[in-house]
Symmetry: C2
Subunit: 259 residues, 2 copies
C-alpha cells in the first residue's frame, strides 16, 4: 500500500462569503472518488464568516480577571468562554474547554493567527502574548455540515476538516478531524484475526484522525497551505452517512474516564 | 510538498534475537538519507525478546480481584501493574497507567495480539475477552535506544518506533512515536509569522507523532505490515541527538494539567 499526501498550493486569501469549493477546485483541479480532501478549519471558518470582531465583545468579570493575571486580551478570553459549554481545566494561563460541539481543546478553537487584522494595535502584540489584533476566528458552527457541503460540491471520495489540537500527557500539537464526510472515521478491526489466528481486541482505529495528522505533514501553518489531497488510501465507505461524522470521534460522556 | 508513505511487505515473523535491521533491509532494500523509517513497536519488542511467559507470573491480590471483576487473565493484569510506575485511571475494566518510561497508555503497552501463542488455551479466548494464550509482549525497555540502533545500522534519515495509543475525549486509537532517532520530534513554529505578518503563538507541532499516524495508515494491524517508509518529508535534523527522542514528546509532570 502506497499513500500519497499532496499539498495544494495557490489558494487565495479566503474571505467571508467565498465559495470555498470553487476556490479549492480552482487550486486543486478535479479530484476523483479515490481522493480524500483535507481542509484546515481556518479557511472553512473564514468562508463561513466565523470571524469575530473583538471590539463588539464586553468582557465579563471572569474574563477580565483571567486576562489581567495572564497579561492577555480580556475580549479574547470572553470569546473563549462564550464558545465553551464546559471548562475542563483553567490553570497556568491555559484554558482547556469543551466547545458547544463537544470538542475538548485549548481556547475552544478561538484563534488569531492567519486572520487579516485590519486594525492591529501593535502595542497589544507585545503586551498580550497573543498575535494581537481585533479579529479572531471561531470553529465552524457545524464542521460535519461543512464537510458534507464540500463533499457534495467537489465529487471527491471523502472530506475531512482538520484542526490542530493539543493532547494530555504528550507535548506538541497534532491535527485531528473535526468534520468528516464520505468515510467511516473509526475503523473497527475487532473480530479480525492476526497472523497467528488470535482475535484482535479493542482495536478501533481513528482513521479520520490518522488522515488529518498525515495531511498536517504537508499543511505548514506559516506557509499558508490549508488544503491537502490524500491519494491511495482505501477506506471504509460511510455505511450510514448520518453517523460517519467528526462527531462520532467524540467520546461519549458516560464512557469518558477523564471527566 | 508531496509526502509518500509506503508499506513494506514481506517481513518474516520476527523472533527473539533476530537482527531486526537486517530483516528490514532485506524487505525494504536500501533506504536513503531522505527517508523516515517507521517501525511498529511489536516487532521491536519481539526482536529484543520483550516477550513475557505469563506462566511465570504470580498475580497479586489486586490483580486477582481486578481480573475476577472484569473476567480477565489475572497474570496479564499483574504484568500490566508491574510495567507501570503510576496508575492514572482504573475504572470500568480499563487500566490507564504511566509506564516506567513515562508513556501514559492503556494496559502499560502489554499486548497479546500478533504474538505466537504456542500454548493457547482456547477456553480462555472466549472467557477472558482478551486474545488469550500464555505470551504477551511488553514495550521495549528503551525505545529511543532501539530507534538509534536501527538508525545507525540502516543509514536512513530518521527512525520512529510507533505504538497505537488511545486518547482522552476522543474515540479510537492513533499511532504515536515512542522512540525517535535522527529528527526533532517537536517542530517549533513559534516566532515565525503568518501571511498577515502576525506572530504564530503556541505552535509546537508533534511532527514525530504526525509521522507515526501517517505510517499507521499503511500499517494494518491484522495484515501484519509493521514497517513503513516515508518519502518526501522535510524535517528538522536532530540538533542535539540526545534530546531528539521519543522521551521529548512526554509532557513534563510540572507542565501536565492532567495529573
Amino acid at each position: 500500500m502506497r499513500v500519497e499526501i499532496l499539498a495544494v498550493p495557490g489558494l487565495p486569501e479566503v474571505q467571508p462569503g467565498d465559495d470555498l469549493a470553487a476556490l479549492i477546485r480552482a487550486a486543486a483541479g478535479e479530484t476523483g472518488p479515490s481522493v480524500v480532501l483535507a481542509v484546515a478549519q481556518k479557511i472553512v471558518s473564514k468562508a463561513e464568516g466565523a470571524i469575530v470582531d473583538l471590539r463588539t465583545i464586553q468582557p465579563s468579570a471572569l474574563a477580565r480577571s483571567w486576562a489581567a493575571e495572564g497579561n492577555k486580551d480580556a475580549r479574547l478570553i470572553e470569546l473563549i468562554l462564550a464558545q465553551s459549554r464546559r471548562i475542563v481545566k483553567m490553570d497556568r494561563g491555559v484554558i482547556i474547554s469543551e466547545t458547544h460541539h463537544g470538542f475538548v481543546c485549548a481556547n475552544a478553537g478561538v484563534d488569531q493567527s492567519n486572520v487579516d487584522q485590519s486594525n492591529v494595535d501593535q502595542s497589544n502584540v507585545d503586551q498580550a502574548n497573543v498575535p494581537g489584533g481585533d479579529f479572531a476566528t471561531v470553529l465552524p458552527a457545524d464542521p460535519d455540515a461543512s464537510a458534507r457541503r464540500l463533499h457534495a460540491s467537489l465529487g471527491c471520495g471523502a472530506v475531512i476538516i482538520t484542526d490542530t489540537f493539543g493532547r494530555p500527557w504528550r507535548e506538541g500539537l497534532v491535527d485531528v478531524a473535526i468534520g468528516v464526510a464520505g468515510l467511516e472515521p473509526l475503523e473497527d478491526l475487532r473480530g479480525r484475526v492476526d497472523r497467528h489466528g488470535q482475535k484482535l481486541s479493542s482495536t478501533i482505529v481513528a482513521v479520520a484522525d490518522q488522515l488529518a495528522a498525515a495531511a498536517g505533514l504537508v499543511m505548514r501553518k506559516a506557509e499558508g497551505c490549508p488544503v491537502a489531497l490524500i491519494h491511495g488510501f482505501e477506506w471504509q465507505p460511510a455505511a450510514d452517512p448520518s453517523k460517519s461524522t467528526g462527531r462520532a470521534l467524540l467520546r461519549k460522556p458516560e464512557q469518558d474516564l477523564f471527566r
